[in-house]
């Protein structure tokens, strides 16, 4: 008797299981046909790093401080930089990424002091040789480099002039103030917010 009950209970469980698969048979598939349709990539998705455009100079804002190169656990970034004339910091002349080594940990992006590192949008890179994954991150910016340096110089010059002018104005004011019985307190130039851009000092 018990055996018969067991068998029928088992058979019932099997039938109910078949019910589940049949229900799913008529549901809509969840597949995204990948090469035909692109998968949705989250906005924070980590991939090969890229240099981000900084609005005010029309190019990236890398100052070749080598912090990313130092922190990279896989040693896949190599940077060299020189300081152009009239620019207060270095500009990279080589920013290579060996993506074949990269583990997409994102430490370099975290550590970047000028927030100039971000992720590229591609997510299905493929290649036939290791050389295919040697990315030159400066490539897209090469054409704008001269212009960018020009702009930085321009900004630097303007800043210098402003500083000069301010100093001159302050000196004049001071002189005037001294002349007018030394009433006014001189303003500290250092206190002034220079540009609004983070940390770059442009």
């Amino acid at each position: 008797m018990q055996a018969i009950l067991d068998v029928s209970r088992g058979a019932l469980s099997l039938l109910r299981g078949m019910g589940v698969t049949l229900r799913n048979f008529f549901r809509k598939p969840v597949t995204v046909e990948y090469p035909r349709k692109r998968a949705k990539v989250s906005k924070n998705h980590r991939n090969a790093i890229a240099l981000i455009e900084a609005g005010n100079i029309g190019s990236h804002n890398c100052i070749a401080c080598l912090q990313c190169e130092k922190i990279c656990p896989s040693a896949c970034i190599s940077i060299t930089g020189t300081r152009p004339d009239g620019v207060p910091f270095k500009r990279p002349d080589k920013f290579d990424l060996d993506f074949a080594l990269c583990s997409e940990c994102g430490l370099c992006v975290d550590v970047c002091p000028t927030n100039t590192l971000g992720y590229s949008e591609e997510y299905d890179t493929a290649g036939y040789t290791r050389a295919d994954f040697k990315y030159d991150l400066l490539q897209p910016w090469l054409s704008r480099e001269d212009q960018a340096i020009e702009r930085i110089r321009e900004a630097e010059r303007r800043k210098k002039e402003e500083r000069e002018a301010k100093r001159k104005a302050q000196a004049e004011a001071r002189a005037r103030a001294e002349a007018e019985k030394r009433e006014q307190q001189p303003e500290s130039a250092a206190k002034q917010d220079q540009d609004g851009e983070r940390g770059t000092g442009i």
């Binding site: 068998v7 099997l14 078949m18 799913n24 048979f25 549901r27 597949t31 046909e33």
Partner: protein, 325 residues
């Protein structure tokens, strides 16, 4: 009036040649379509899409696969027993065409009408086990060997309930001629008179064809393909071909024995026959994509301690009822 191929062609040999052509054409297209169907059914049950690339609904996918298999290298393992290893796919494949010729697909349409067709079908379907054992032993691979041993035990375990359930039908019909058996079901199909026998038959048939949940001889997650582990390219293709063809055979047999063969309203008989066959095949696929695999000893226990006693009781009951009526 029976119209079989010997009547049409006049000569046995011509008729045989014509039958081979027709059956071979049907079977090759059929297995390719069944593989496609399997992939589509499994995909839909798992909420995937399945093949979509080649042809409409991916219909040509399996044709491409077949062509690819033809271009694959045939590797014979160094330590294999060459004769057995090479004979195995042939042994499995050879009886299939002959078995298919026995099925009456419509009231007056059968390749050759034999009075003992049922015995022939049962005998030759069991022959595939020889091929499986030759493959398993000949490969000299332990996984293959395990698969082969399991296969034999499974086949002999399920042969018995299969025969006993068929016997109940033979008792009712009083004939071993497949056409006669189907003819007698023009009113009520035997599945209504013999529901238990039909169930036992179908379960045993699923096991005979090594389909999940009874696919332990192949058991890709344990035995990595079991008896056909060492087979590559088209030799592996032959096993595949045989598996899907034998699905058609057992489902065709079930259709004739229990579902009334070609009988059905409105549509022509041959259409009804294939509708029933493919519906049964769909159920087999449905099994496969729903259940986990049984363990080997549970499988044997289930056959010997559940199916066989049930089949014996069913047979006795049938015999008793026949006497009472």
């Amino acid at each position: 009036m029976v119209r079989d191929f010997t009547d049409i062609f006049g000569s046995t040999w011509l008729a045989a040649a014509a039958s081979v052509a027709v059956i071979m054409a049907f079977l090759s297209v059929n297995s390719l379509m069944l593989i496609w169907m399997e992939r589509k059914v499994s995909a839909r049950m798992q909420r995937r899409l399945g093949p979509t690339e080649h042809g409409p609904f991916g219909l040509l996918q399996t044709f491409c696969d077949a062509i690819k298999l033809l271009g694959k290298e045939l590797i014979t393992p160094r330590h294999a027993s060459t004769k057995l290893y090479l004979a195995a796919p042939i042994l499995i494949f050879a009886p299939i065409i002959a078995i298919c010729s026995l099925f009456p697909v419509s009231g007056n349409w059968v390749f050759r009408d034999y009075d003992i067709a049922l015995v022939l079908v049962l005998a030759f379907t069991s022959m595939s086990i020889l091929g499986i054992f030759a493959a398993g032993w000949g490969s000299n691979n332990k996984y293959s060997l395990l698969g082969a041993i399991r296969s034999i035990l499974q086949n002999i375990a399920y042969e018995v309930p299969l025969l006993l359930s068929v016997m109940a039908v033979v008792l009712l019909a009083g004939s071993l001629n497949l056409r006669d058996i189907a003819m007698q079901q023009s009113g009520i199909p035997y599945v209504l008179l013999q529901p238990l026998a039909a169930l036992i038959f179908f379960v045993a048939a699923t096991a005979e064809t090594n389909r999940a949940p009874f696919d332990i001889p192949e058991a890709e997650s344990e035995l990595i393909g079991g008896f056909h582990t060492e087979y590559s390219g088209m030799r592996f293709g032959m096993f595949f071909f045989a598996e899907y063809s034998s699905m058609v055979i057992v489902c065709g047999l079930a259709t004739i024995l229990f579902l009334g063969g070609w009988h059905g309203p409105v549509l022509p008989g041959i259409v009804w026959f294939f509708i029933k066959v493919y519906a049964l095949i769909f159920v087999m696929m449905w099994f496969r994509w729903t259940f986990p695999r049984l363990r080997f000893d549970q499988l044997l226990k289930f056959s010997w301690l559940v199916l066989v006693p049930l089949a014996v009781l069913n047979l006795l009951a049938t015999a008793l009822v026949l006497k009472l009526l």
